[in-house]
């Protein structure tokens, strides 16, 4: 397996949607390719960081204000 072929299957590997046979091929490639090993581990870490540190959160005050506006309009029949 080449690095390009590995990269094409990177998402399937991260999402755990590869077959047993394909997983074995990917593992075989990883054993001899530090570049792909680093790409895999840091891509996983990227996802993990974005998932655990969610950005663009709403301030509580804004949330309440918008809720009031939405509910007021909906009660009037939008």
């Amino acid at each position: 397996m080449t690095c390009t072929e590995f990269l094409a299957l990177l998402d399937d590997l991260i999402d755990d949607t590869v077959t047993t046979e394909m997983r074995a091929d990917l593992q075989e490639h990883l054993r001899g390719c530090e570049h792909c090993e680093v790409t895999l581990s840091t891509t996983r870490k990227t996802i993990q960081i974005y998932r655990s540190h969610q950005i663009y959160d709403m301030p509580a005050g804004l949330r309440d204000r918008l809720h009031a506006a939405i509910m007021a309009r909906c009660k009037k029949g939008c």
Partner: protein, 230 residues
């Protein structure tokens, strides 16, 4: 680095849906949103309030990703929920309520963006030509827990700055698939994209974000100490 277990699943967990987005557990079990939607249709506005509170943060983040403007995101969130309420009779129930809501929010966000760009067409499904991230260049490994080298506000700033430069179509796919935990199929339906298009954008979004974060998170060369470059 996390390694694959021989013959087993990858150590990194599957994207799990956020607590507010519950998967359908089999065809026979209706999604909890179905009952809420039915109550709204029967005139119970408080049921709609439950739906709003359940999904407002996610809708806000999607709007912020696309518009890149807090005021626009606030307006989009409000308009999307009002439009969804008005059009609830058109919701057939053969898709999930949240998927349907995301589609409305994305359309509202694009309309807002179009207004700001004085009528220039903006689309989430246009083919985005970029070579960046297609082949990893920065191959330096990261420190074991790189985020611990930053305060919460520094880290938030880095994450926002990093994702801001991606095309809107990449950001929203990454947000829906990796942060909110939607399936590829639901993401495709919500964005009106094909499944291959979602997969292609997700791979490129992941690789581009990884590459950009490497500037902050990689190990310093020639040092045993774990360090970062700011």
């Amino acid at each position: 680095m996390p390694a694959l277990k021989p013959g087993g699943a990858a150590e990194f967990p599957q994207p799990t849906p956020m607590s507010t987005i519950q998967p359908i557990a089999g065809e026979l079990e209706p999604h909890p949103d179905v009952a809420l939607v039915e109550r709204v249709r029967a005139g119970d506005v408080s049921a709609y309030d439950e739906l709003v509170r359940k999904y407002d943060r996610q809708v806000f983040r999607i709007a912020q990703h696309i518009t890149q403007n807090r005021e626009d995101a606030e307006d989009v969130m409000q308009d999307a929920f009002l439009k969804a309420y008005e059009k609830l009779d058109q919701f057939q129930g053969n898709s999930k309520f949240y998927t349907w809501l995301v589609r409305i929010a994305v359309n509202e966000s694009l309309m807002r963006l179009r207004k700001r760009r004085t009528g220039k067409m903006v689309s989430i499904d246009e083919d985005i030509e970029t070579d960046e991230g297609s082949v990893p260049r920065d191959l330096a490994d990261w420190a074991p827990d790189p985020e611990q080298n930053f305060t919460q506000s520094e880290l938030r700033s880095i994450l926002e700055k990093t994702i801001k430069g991606l095309p809107p179509g990449f950001k929203v796919v990454f947000e829906l698939r990796d942060v909110q935990g939607l399936s590829t199929e639901d993401t495709a339906e919500a964005l009106g994209l094909s499944i291959p298009a979602v997969k292609s954008r997700l791979l490129r979004a992941r690789l581009q974000l990884r590459e950009r974060l490497s500037r902050y998170f990689r190990k310093k060369k020639g040092s045993r100490e774990v360090g970062v470059e700011k």
